[in-house]
């Protein structure tokens, strides 16, 4: 499992006495979604040669969190999602949605799913498609119509509700995908690359919707390549590579409180001073009329600042720079041994 930091059990609490008999009882909230040591091995239909798409993945989702599934192409994200949805069966391991199997109808009643690059029946209109989805969730036609209208309005598709889906652009199809995933007001929302095909405004809308769903109490599991947006959106992430979990944990926990470097912005410094700083191993770059000096260690920072003060250099700002999720992700993949497959 690599450097797993799964802290999903961290919220187990101990209840006090039960019925005054001094009995201690563990009250662990039922995991919303639990993936335990799941593996998926495909066989080539011609040669029967096995191919391991997922190898022993374990995840546990808490109620009301946004959980990101990150990884390069072929990491096993989509296969994991398909196993959670019951579209494909695990070769080993178990998946439980509120303690139920993925194929269980009661479990699926509480799920919403947006596939990667979604495609819907192009002979239907958006409203007709949502009507079909409503029937599959046993919604009355009135309820389905009301919710469909609300969602189409919320996603900006109101004017195109009667247009055949074959005339929808990629972005519109993605928005309809969100509509159909939210129609049953799901408790778990599973989104495979939700930002795919969306323009910047669409991505901002999508982030807003996901935050609103979290505020409503829904748990969101999303896979994504867009790490900058994942970092600001997800409470926890799992980094997958070649079918394995490299790391699981809260975004800030994974990135650490540590500072990777300090950026000191100063006014003009002499060439000699710049050369000296470079000689000491610091990066010195011109930035307009200012200069930025990047220092790695806090102790060295003190030395550099003292030097500037002594030379009478005006210091504009000193800012710590923390690692981004993208940098952490790339490092985790590289440290796993092979880099991108």
């Amino acid at each position: 499992m690599g450097r797993e930091r799964d802290d999903s059990r961290g919220k187990q609490t101990w209840d006090a006495e039960v019925a005054g008999r001094g009995v201690m009882r563990e009250v662990a909230p039922l995991p919303v979604l639990e993936v335990s040591a799941v593996a998926k091995v495909y066989r080539d239909p011609m040669t029967l040669k096995p191919f391991t798409a997922v190898e022993g993945i374990s995840l546990s989702l808490r109620p009301g969190e946004i959980f990101g599934l990150l990884g390069p192409n072929g990491a096993g994200k989509t296969t994991t999602i398909k196993m959670i949805l019951g579209l494909t069966r695990p070769t080993r391991g178990t998946i439980r949605i509120w303690g139920r199997e993925p194929q269980d109808r009661a479990a699926r009643m509480r799920l919403g799913y947006l596939p990667e690059n979604p495609c819907f029946y192009d002979h239907l209109s958006a409203r007709e498609y949502l009507g079909l989805v409503g029937s599959l969730f046993d919604l009355s036609s009135g309820t389905a119509r009301r919710r469909a209208d609300e969602l189409l309005k919320r996603l900006g598709l109101e004017a195109d509700a009667r247009k055949p889906l074959r005339k929808f652009s990629k972005g519109m199809t993605q928005r309809l995908g969100i509509c159909q995933a939210l129609l049953n007001e799901p408790d778990i929302l599973i989104l495979d690359e939700p930002m795919s095909g969306l323009d910047p405004i669409g991505r901002a809308d999508m982030k807003q919707i996901l935050r609103e769903e979290r505020a409503r109490g829904a748990t969101v599991l999303m896979s994504s390549h867009v790490l900058a947006e994942t970092e600001t959106l997800c409470d926890r992430v799992a980094i997958l590579h070649r079918g394995r979990v490299l790391e699981v944990g809260e975004v800030q926990g994974l990135l650490g409180a540590g500072v990777i470097e300090w950026e000191v912005t100063v006014e003009t410094i002499s060439d000699a001073a710049a050369a000296r700083l470079r000689g000491e191993g610091h990066r010195v770059d011109a930035a307009g009329r200012n200069w930025i000096v990047r220092v790695r260690e806090a102790e060295e920072l003190q030395e550099v600042l003292r030097g500037f003060t002594k030379d009478g250099v005006f210091i504009h700002s000193v800012e710590p720079r923390r690692p981004s999720l993208e940098e952490h992700f790339v490092r985790a993949i590289q440290e796993s041994g092979a880099g991108r497959a």
Binding site: T88, R105, R108, N117, P118, L124, E128, S135, L136, D138
Partner: protein, 255 residues
């Protein structure tokens, strides 16, 4: 049942909006009107020829519709990945297959019924009396279409459109000649061929059970006993095929 009906309704919409049904319907209409041209050749038996030709032509078109729409029924869903969103919803795979079957059966039966109405109108206008006897024959053909549709849905649940169409057509042809095959095999064929023929005879549907065109042509109604037998046989056969198709589809992996 709502979920099955929702899938069936969607299948009907898809078939109608793809216009294949309309094209075949117009073709059938032209065929029925054109059949009037044959009546002078029939030496006073024009009414019988028109009914026979009309019923056979209608059934052929409805069967072709079942085979060609049905063969791409699931393949298209998988290719476009529309099935992923649907099967992630609270619907059993058996319900999905059953809905697809029902939708296709209703579509093909509606085409057959529409053509039968046109046939009845053509005969009524041309010969002055309504051929009510075609009702029983059309009823039996609807059951036969159910079996053909179920065969096609079964094959489409695990194989390619081309193979589905091939097996569907084979089932129709062999199903209509099952009795003849068995008769010829019983007359001096080698034991292996006889055993093979017996297997085919008992496995494939006996579609000749549903052919009552001869009675309809002569204005003889289908006896209730025959209708009941055909209904029971059809229900059992369709039920068996649907259970098999549902089992195959349930085990299918969506990569």
């Amino acid at each position: 049942m709502n979920r099955v009906l929702a899938i069936a309704q969607n299948t009907i919409r898809e078939a109608v909006r793809e216009r294949l049904v309309l094209v075949l319907g117009l073709f059938g209409f032209a065929l029925l009107i054109g059949s009037q041209a044959l009546s002078p050749l029939a030496l006073g038996e024009g009414r019988k020829v028109v009914i026979d030709f009309g019923l056979a032509g209608s059934m052929l078109l409805a069967t072709l519709l079942a085979v060609f729409l049905g063969s791409s029924l699931l393949h298209k869903e998988l290719e476009r990945r529309t099935v992923y969103s649907i099967l992630a919803k609270p619907i059993r795979r058996e319900e999905f297959i059953l809905g697809k079957f029902l939708g296709l059966w209703v579509t093909t039966s509606a085409l057959l019924a529409a053509m039968a109405v046109i046939l009845a109108m053509v005969v009524t206008v041309a010969y002055g009396d309504t051929p009510w006897s075609i009702l029983g024959s059309v009823g039996l053909s609807v059951i036969e279409l159910g079996i053909v549709t179920a065969v096609v849905v079964l094959f489409s649940s695990f194989t390619t459109p081309a193979l589905t169409a091939f097996f569907g057509i084979c089932a129709v042809v062999v199903g209509h000649f099952a009795e003849d095959l068995r008769y010829f095999a019983s007359r001096g064929a080698p034991p292996l061929v006889r055993a093979l023929t017996e297997t085919v005879y008992w496995t494939l549907p006996h579609l000749s059970v549903f052919n009552a065109r001869g009675l309809a042509v002569h204005g003889i109604p289908v006896e209730p006993e025959r209708m009941l037998f055909a209904l029971a046989y059809g229900a059992l056969y369709i039920g068996g095929l649907m259970i098999f198709a549902g089992t195959v589809f349930r085990r299918r992996e969506f990569r």
